[in-house]
């Protein structure tokens, strides 16, 4: 069940991505509407993070392309915000919460320029939206997992983008924070922003997302929640690894060169 949309905000065409020549995403092809809260679901190792990274141009696809706002990524970077996984950075780095949130303004600021008052105000208002104003001066090493996640979301807000891509923003977050963040994301979509979230918990996904993408190395489904959430598709997504696909990956991995490369 893959529902394509007219005038898509994001269009992914036959995207294939490999790591060390093992394909982790096979021929992903879908399009997404504007102004929705969209969830990417799938088991561990399904390629959810890789999909987000491919959209952001952080991994090189072996085939296919991505169009955002009907343009190439480099033309619209300032309208896109990316929240990496919390574990992907070293939180012992000597920086304050404000320093990290300020990084959200760097994209517009450009190289060489130092952030000034305007950037600082923007960082503070972003911190306020996630309820972390009191922590502005705190060292990031002293934060709990949920607080770190909120700092990352504040940094994304400071980018003032139209499209938000978030990689597991609810990992290691307590229930109350999860609800608060979801409410914030819902408000953002009401203002016309589009938010795409990699998520692992099916139950909260059912409550909050309007559009769901199901992934397990290949695209299982993409469409409005009511259309795609059924037992059959869930089983296809979560019912273990696809035996055949795994075997093909194994054959490709054993080659001395990458046979998928053009």
């Amino acid at each position: 069940m893959i529902k394509q949309v007219e005038n898509p905000l994001l269009e992914i065409h036959d995207l294939t991505v490999s790591y060390d020549q093992s394909p982790v995403l096979w021929n992903i092809d879908f399009s997404l509407p504007e102004g929705k809260l969209i969830g990417i679901l799938g088991p561990n190792g399904a390629g959810k993070s890789t999909l987000i990274k491919a959209i952001m141009g952080l991994v090189e696809p072996t085939g296919g392309y991505v169009k955002i706002f009907n343009k190439d990524l480099d033309q619209v970077r300032n309208r896109i915000s990316y929240v990496p996984q919390r574990e992907s950075v070293d939180w012992n780095f000597p920086a304050s919460v404000l320093d990290v949130v300020m990084m959200g303004t760097y994209g517009r600021l450009g190289l060489f320029k130092r952030p000034g008052k305007k950037e600082k105000d923007l960082a503070f208002s972003s911190l306020e939206k996630v309820g972390m104003t009191a922590f502005a001066k705190r060292q990031i090493s002293e934060l709990s997992g949920g607080q770190q996640q909120r700092v990352f979301i504040a940094r994304a807000l400071a980018q003032e983008a139209d499209l938000y891509l978030m990689d597991e923003p609810f990992a290691g977050v307590d229930m109350a924070t999860e609800t608060a963040i979801f409410q914030l994301l819902q408000e953002m979509t009401k203002e016309g922003k589009t938010v795409i979230v990699v998520h692992h918990d099916i139950h909260s996904a059912m409550t909050y997302f309007e559009w769901i993408i199901m992934l397990n190395l290949h695209l299982v489904a993409s469409g409005p929640k009511s259309d795609v959430v059924n037992e059959d598709l869930l089983r296809k997504t979560y019912g273990g690894k696809l035996n055949l696909l795994t075997k093909v990956t194994e054959i490709i991995r054993q080659q001395e060169f990458n046979p998928l490369k053009n």
């Binding site: 000597p94 920086a95 320093d99 990290v100 990084m103 980018q159």
Partner: protein, 430 residues
């Protein structure tokens, strides 16, 4: 003493120059080194510094004398070759980074030593100065050299200050930088060039073998004192400058002494002091706070024992009864008793030690936390009542008032713990 005054009064202008040179050199290398330390790439600096030796020798062979431009040029070329080779091997083989660095480092250094031996065989009278590049000799720096090394140091300091936000992004979250469209590969390249330059500026004063120490140790030592990047950079620079000047002074007083080893000795000493005495992160501070905590827990236990005695209907316990409860902790128990007496939590009434009003409130609190935690473990984590005591014995000292409130809420203000003992509350006595 005379030497000391002569050196530090800077009446000799060449000494003043050398000290100035060492100062900006130290700041520059500590500055770059701190970033590479934060980036967990400390070993790369070591690899580069050993790898510049063949370049120095080639520069010397080409110029036929100790010409700073040829030597610095050669050092930059072979340092770059080593850096490039390291990253090429990393992306094109499955070898781990540390084995690649070890291999590159020893290959280049070995080659350098071979060239050095060849040069020594030629009998060139200028070659005597070449040995200085191994362990460094700050006093041997000529004014012409100073312009080269000092100029490069200034370039490093300026570039880093200009690109502070880009390098922070590179170290903290490279992917995010790429996502917002920054040319992160180019920024990494600039950083690597600065790394190479920061090694090159130290070859004359510190020497290739020990230059890595001047890069990494200042930042590592300063990290014990602060969590702010700006303070960290300033402290690291300060440590490097102090050590640099000390090393230079020793080379001045004892002309046969190389500078590099003394700089490193001084730096290591500063690092040791940081490791031992820095507040919060130093081991002395941690040792003291642990001791304080242990004393506090023992006092809690004494209060608890006295409270339990009152539960059994006794008014208090005498000193010997208390001591016999903790057979291996006589000294701590006596210490706790006298501390609690002094702070009016206990009263000594004709040899019988009793809880005072405030002591009773505190003792109740500890017993309450202990029993609440036992109840929680039993009820929510399904742990048998005879397995909950040890955990509660530790947690009773840690649970905050907010957590207590939460526990009470969850458990619906229980009256009894899993052992059917009363959970004491402040209003019980009324």
């Amino acid at each position: 003493m005379e030497d000391f005054l002569y050196f530090f009064s800077f009446q000799d202008s060449s000494i003043a120059f050398i000290v100035l040179g060492i100062t900006i050199l130290g700041i520059g290398s500590a500055y770059v080194g701190t970033f590479s330390f934060l980036d967990n790439k400390a070993l790369l600096g070591d690899a580069i510094s050993h790898s510049v030796l063949p370049g120095i020798c080639l520069g010397f062979l080409l110029a036929g004398e100790k010409n700073p431009y040829y030597i610095v040029g050669g050092a930059i070329v072979s340092g770059s070759a080593a850096t490039f080779l390291t990253s090429w091997l990393k992306s094109n083989t499955k070898l781990s980074e540390d084995s690649i660095i070890a291999t590159v480092l020893s290959t280049f250094f070995g080659l350098g030593i071979v060239l050095l031996t060849v040069i020594q065989k030629t009998g060139n009278p200028e070659m005597a100065g070449l040995n200085q590049f191994i362990f460094g000799n700050a006093i041997g720096i000529l004014e012409e050299d100073l312009w080269v090394y000092g100029g490069l140091s200034l370039i490093i300091i300026l570039s880093l200050s200009l690109l502070m936000k880009e390098f922070s992004l590179l170290v903290f979250n490279q992917e995010f930088g790429r996502a917002i469209g920054y040319p992160m590969d180019f920024i990494r390249l600039v950083f690597n060039i600065l790394m190479i330059l920061s090694v090159v500026i130290g070859i004359q004063a510190i020497g290739v073998v020990l230059m890595a120490a001047l890069l990494i140790t200042p930042g590592a030592a300063a990290r014990f004192w602060t969590d702010r990047l700006s303070t960290l950079l300033i402290l690291a620079g300060l440590f490097a400058v102090i050590s640099g000047i000390t090393g230079t002074y020793i080379s001045f007083v004892l002309p046969k002494m190389p500078t590099g080893p003394w700089v490193v000795v001084c730096l290591s000493f500063l690092a040791l002091i940081s490791f031992l005495f820095a507040p919060k992160k130093g081991i002395l501070f941690r040792y003291i706070s642990r001791r304080k905590y242990l004393r506090k827990t023992h006092r809690d236990h004494v209060l608890k024992s006295l409270f339990k005695a009152t539960e059994e209907g006794k008014k208090g316990l005498n000193k010997n009864e208390l001591l016999s409860l903790y057979p291996h902790h006589k000294k701590e128990t006596l210490g706790s008793i006298s501390y609690l007496l002094k702070h009016n939590q206990l009263n000594n009434i004709q040899g019988l030690i009793e809880l005072s009003e405030s002591g009773r409130t505190e003792a109740k609190r500890i017993v309450r936390l202990h029993r609440l935690w036992e109840s929680y473990l039993n009820e929510y984590m399904n742990i048998a009542p005879d397995h909950v005591h040890d955990s509660a014995e530790k947690l009773e000292h840690l649970i905050t008032p907010e957590l207590e409130e939460l526990l009470d809420n969850r458990l619906r203000y229980p009256k009894l713990d899993p052992h059917q003992e009363n959970i004491p509350r402040d209003h019980d006595d009324i």
